[in-house]
Symmetry: none
DNA sequence: GGACATATGACAGTCGGGTGACAAAGTTGC
DNA sequence: GCAACTTTGTCACCCGACTGTCATATGTCC
């Protein structure tokens, strides 16, 4: 995976699969090719490729379903390969979560250009989206998002800042005073304010807010966020 | 104008501007010439030329800034014209986004050769239409086109830039400040301007603008574009 | 039980963001 | 060059969401 790009090709037509595989390897891509969506998914799970090329017409699980499954696990860029002129399928493929498409017969140079383009724009995005995970709780500072069990949770700005502040010091105790100062910028203020927001936050990010697993109280001292 | 190449010349020295204009027209280029970067940018925005020639030493906005502005809109090839044999300026020009340079006094034949060369290698990559897909929303940056469910949607230039800027950072939160700066080039300005354009854009690219699926607000923080 | 610390629910003021109206600037077509 | 149309930025208004405060309930330690 060092510097080199890997591609997973899911295509049932033997001739196309073989020729594309060879063409991709000529272009310098490590290529794995399979004939069914099921094989492709299994392979992507065990040995993820950087980009997936998937034909829409497949025996068994079709390309659309396959894209949705790929998307469920991962943010790997997906390019749809479709028969010419089938706009409807292409649109459906993109709606299922593909990032780009190319029509058969595939011009290898064009495919290579698209792979490069896709990697160029997929990379920084994937890299920039840092995730801070606390077990089932995920914090995405760059996206301004919080997820619980993978599902987005609506959190207000203050709650988000508070959470980020706690997350920056995992497992570490932070006093109300510190939190007031760092989240609100108050040098002095009512420390009860912190309690209220902690309470509200708990209702959103804890499965059972009464017995918090992550955002715990340290009696007499403050709060901390743990895994 | 078909088949013919057009050149925009930005050069403050009257004598050079006039002589180069004539020389370029002799070579068969449709040529527009202006004396300031501001005029050049305005003209390129209203009536884009195929290639831009820009002097580095200009009154008001200088050539470097001008190149960066040109680059913000467009992928038009830019050739730097530098008065001195000053490697530092040339390097800075290329870093600002120019594609080639030529040193004064300009040999017309050399300039013509460079223009041809530049056009020859102009964007085979850009010719391949790449698609940035966000589910049912497709953005074709090179074609300046946006589609919803496969159907073209008419968006204005500002809306398109805003959309592209958001699309370049998929799922990432962008503050109004960042957007103002990247889309409008304003260092400071009324952040509500962003709201208005986001609202207009939503009416075009969302199925239900009231509850946006792609262009979502992160309250108190900014906006982001997601799948 | 008593003293204290924390959780919670309700409330009103404030804030942030969506929206439609409008004028200025730009664009297009004749 | 003129007129119709489009695009753009500014503004004011409105509504819902958020925030901080307080009173009250619940819990904890001695």
């Amino acid at each position: 995976m060092r510097g080199m790009s890997s591609v997973l090709l899911i295509e049932d037509d033997d001739r196309i699969r073989l020729s594309l595989t060879m063409a991709l390897e000529d272009e310098g891509y490590t290529t794995r090719a399979v004939a069914t969506a099921e094989e492709g998914l299994a392979l992507q799970r065990s040995k993820p490729a950087d980009t997936v090329l998937v034909d829409l017409m497949l025996p068994g699980m079709d390309g659309f379903e396959c894209i949705r499954e790929l998307r469920r696990d991962d943010d790997v860029p997906v390019i749809v390969v479709s028969a010419r002129d089938d706009t409807h399928d292409i649109v459906a493929g993109l709606e299922a979560g593909a990032d780009d498409y190319i029509v058969k017969p595939v011009a290898v140079k064009e495919l290579a250009a698209r792979l490069r383009a896709l990697r160029r724009r997929a990379r920084p995005a994937a890299a920039a989206l840092t995730v801070v995970a606390f077990g089932d709780l995920e914090i995405l500072p760059d996206a301004g998002e919080v997820r619980l069990h993978g599902d987005p949770v609506a959190v207000t700005r203050t709650e988000f800042r508070l959470l980020c502040e706690l997350a920056e010091h995992p497992g570490q105790l932070l006093s109300r005073q510190q939190l007031l100062q760092r989240v609100w910028g108050y040098e002095i203020g009512d420390e009860r304010l912190v309690d209220v927001h902690v309470g509200r936050l708990r209702h959103k990010i804890e499965d059972s807010p009464g017995t918090p697993r992550h955002l715990v109280t340290v009696r007499g001292l403050g709060y901390k966020l743990q895994r």
